[in-house]
């Protein structure tokens, strides 16, 4: 199934795109966010803020076809 992944801020370097266009990945049904993190080789030890369709998720969150996933390192601002 196809899902859309965007990596932000300091995680951009793990994305295959230079600019932050979303990456479309074809992954097995039943995959979770953690499987994508592994696929993209994003280090385990960075804390991540995970969104699936705009709602906070976790590495265990199961994905469905056409889901939109956004992954951030620790960020804050004003």
């Amino acid at each position: 199934m196809k899902v859309e992944i965007k990596l932000f801020a300091g995680l951009r370097k793990y994305s295959s795109h230079e600019r932050a266009e979303p990456v479309i990945l074809d992954i097995p049904h039943g995959s979770a966010v953690g499987d994508i993190l592994a696929l993209l080789e994003i280090p385990q030890d960075i804390k991540k803020i995970i969104f699936v369709n705009g709602v906070h998720g976790a590495e265990e969150t199961q994905l469905n076809e056409h889901d939109r996933v956004g992954i951030f390192p620790p960020v804050a601002g004003g």
């Binding site: 965007k6 801020a9 600019r19 804390k47 705009g54 709602v55 906070h56 620790p74 804050a76 004003g78």
Partner: protein, 576 residues
């Protein structure tokens, strides 16, 4: 800091007095709110002779504590009709600390139409005529003053907006490059300064120095605890210095709470072009600067220097709020246009949040089309011309809504909402509604637990837990604002308790106190109580602790949520 400088604009005299007993042990917002509550009649005309403008450095500004140096200014707000504290970085807060000045209280009102400047030194001050500065923007004002008083002096000034008494007028504070880029922004504080005929304050700290702590070893240890927290937490040590405050654009957009086209949608299709990541790349391509400190002693370094396409300095940052208010909220996706507007806001002396909110309401009212960047720049240039349109816009979002018959006006207590929609981020909605300051995000930054998972996680899409979250943050923030700390230390100390301990242990070591964590929270509560009491006497009621109705009735895409916290729950926030 043992001195209060009383600036009497009736007879143009300056008196220095020792801090009286009733004001001891306070600084920053704690001191400005206490003095305003004690000395300003709550029902006075905010632009009249009985209002006072109180500047106060924080309690740690006379020390080398990391990230202490913020400046507070307080008054009755001409925008909200309630008490106001605005807060900035820049150099003046640190200088006032080194000068031993606990507060500068500007009172009265001169006769006639002349402009004045206040020259402050560590020994006192004088008021001098300044008609040569009248009508100038902040950049020209600082240039002229620098020619006379030098590069190492701090400058606090108003631009044309404050001179015109506009309710969105800010007060500028010079940064470390001597540019008027850090603003005491919100609530029309610039108009109050203008109403007193005061164009500028020259902050000359020659001969000033930090105060020796009662317990120097204790201070060093405590300072290191805060420093370690700031240097190890990834937000304060990596995210903020690299990407600045605008790193938030993408995450707030992803969460569906990035108010777009006057709070009509929660995601902006142009976010990528105005994101912190794009801004970072553009800044570096053009030889600007990231990882920049706006005030002495800052180890977080979230500010930045933005050059134009030719590599020439254009403006600082801009910050997340500014880029949102004048970008997504206006449907504008051109970073250079937004930077130009930021430059003009700094120059004319306008709160970038209130200004962007006002323009967005004007766009909804048909004055310009959403997305018209050139049109937005034309609008801000109306302000120094003194046209009716400039005046309506410069008086803020509510003023524009009334003039153009727009119903979707995002304000609380008359102050425009900042860069987070309360419908999918209910914690910040509670803060907007119940803060003594009007719609204010820093007063109780629920974004941290709601979105950023800093200090725990409270689901933003549900009403549960939001009251406690906002209450606790409002209390803690009032205390931090009294210490003179940059509020961004919160990102580290919410996760690293030793950092928080470092702050009150520094206060103890500096002043010979025995504060505990509970004492710090008690201080925060006391400041909030003082402010609430003033607001009550000024005529504000629980009816003013509410969001505009459309937030409860118009679902926001993409999540389709409305604000679900009830009125009864909102009325529980200030129970402590």
């Amino acid at each position: 800091m043992e001195k209060i400088v009383r600036v009497n604009m009736d007879d143009l005299t300056v008196k220095v007095e020792l801090v009286p007993e009733k004001y001891r042990g306070l600084g920053g917002r704690g001191l400005t709110s206490t003095i305003v509550a004690a000395e300003v009649p709550p029902t006075c005309d905010p632009l009249g002779k009985d209002n006072k403008l109180v500047f106060a450095p924080g309690l740690l500004n006379n020390t080398p504590a990391p990230n202490a140096g913020r400046l507070s200014v307080g008054c009755k707000s001409p925008l909200t009709g309630g008490i106001k504290e605005a807060n900035s970085g820049g150099v003046a807060g640190n200088k006032l600390g080194r000068m031993g000045i606990a507060a500068v209280v500007v009172e009265g009102m001169p006769k006639g139409n002349k402009s004045y400047k206040l020259i402050l030194t560590k020994d006192g001050g004088t008021i001098e005529p300044a008609d040569d500065l009248k009508g100038l923007g902040n950049y020209d004002t600082v240039a002229k003053l620098t020619a006379k008083y030098g590069q190492k002096t701090g400058y606090v000034s108003i631009g044309q907006a404050g001179e015109m008494l506009l309710k969105a007028a800010s007060i500028a504070v010079t940064d470390r490059e001597n540019r008027p880029t850090r603003h005491l922004g919100r609530g029309g504080v610039g108009a109050v300064m203008g109403s007193k005929g005061l164009k500028a304050i020259v902050v000359d700290d020659t001969g000033g120095q930090y105060s020796k702590p009662v317990d120097p070893e204790g201070f060093k240890k405590a300072s290191k605890k805060l420093l370690d927290a700031l240097k190890t937490h990834p937000v304060t040590s990596q995210g903020l210095p690299t990407y600045g405050t605008n790193v938030l654009a993408n995450i707030i957009n992803e969460a569906g709470g990035y108010p777009t086209r006057n709070f009509s949608e929660g995601r902006f299709e142009g976010v990528e072009k105005i994101s912190g990541e794009r801004q970072h790349d553009v800044i570096l391509e053009r030889g600007g600067k990231i990882a920049h400190g706006c005030m002495p002693g800052c180890v977080i370094q979230c500010s930045r220097i933005y050059n134009d396409k030719d590599g020439k300095f254009l403006t600082k940052g801009p910050e997340y709020e500014t880029i949102w208010a004048n970008g997504a909220n206006c449907g504008i996706d051109d970073l250079d246009s937004i930077a130009q507007i930021d430059r003009l806001c700094d120059d004319y002396g306008l709160d970038t949040i209130e200004w962007g909110d006002a323009v967005a309401v004007a766009m909804e009212g048909g004055v310009k089309k959403f997305g018209d960047a050139k049109g937005a720049i034309e609008l801000i240039k109306e302000v120094p011309k003194g046209t009716e349109l400039g005046i309506i816009l410069g008086n803020g979002a509510a003023s524009v809504g009334r003039a153009y018959n727009v119903s979707r006006v995002p304000v609380v207590k008359g102050q425009g909402l900042p860069a987070y929609d309360p419908r999918p981020i209910m914690g910040i909605g509670v803060t907007y509604a119940t803060s003594t300051m009007g719609a204010d995000h820093t007063a109780g930054y629920a974004i941290a637990p709601n979105i950023l998972k800093v200090g725990g996680f409270v689901d933003p899409l549900k009403p549960e837990g939001q009251i406690d979250t906002s209450r606790n943050l409002q209390i803690a923030t009032a205390a931090l604002d009294t210490a003179g700390m940059c509020i961004f230390v919160a990102f580290a100390i919410l996760d690293i308790p030793a950092g928080f301990e470092g702050i009150y242990e520094m206060l103890n070591a500096q002043y010979g106190l025995k504060l505990t964590a509970d004492d710090v929270l008690a201080l925060g509560k006391s400041v909030l109580r003082t402010e609430r009491e003033f607001n009550k006497k000024a005529g504000l009621t629980s009816a003013d602790d509410r969001l505009p109705k459309f937030f409860m009735t118009e679902p926001l895409s993409p999540h389709g949520k409305v604000f679900e916290v009830t009125d009864d729950e909102l009325d529980q926030v200030h129970n402590y």
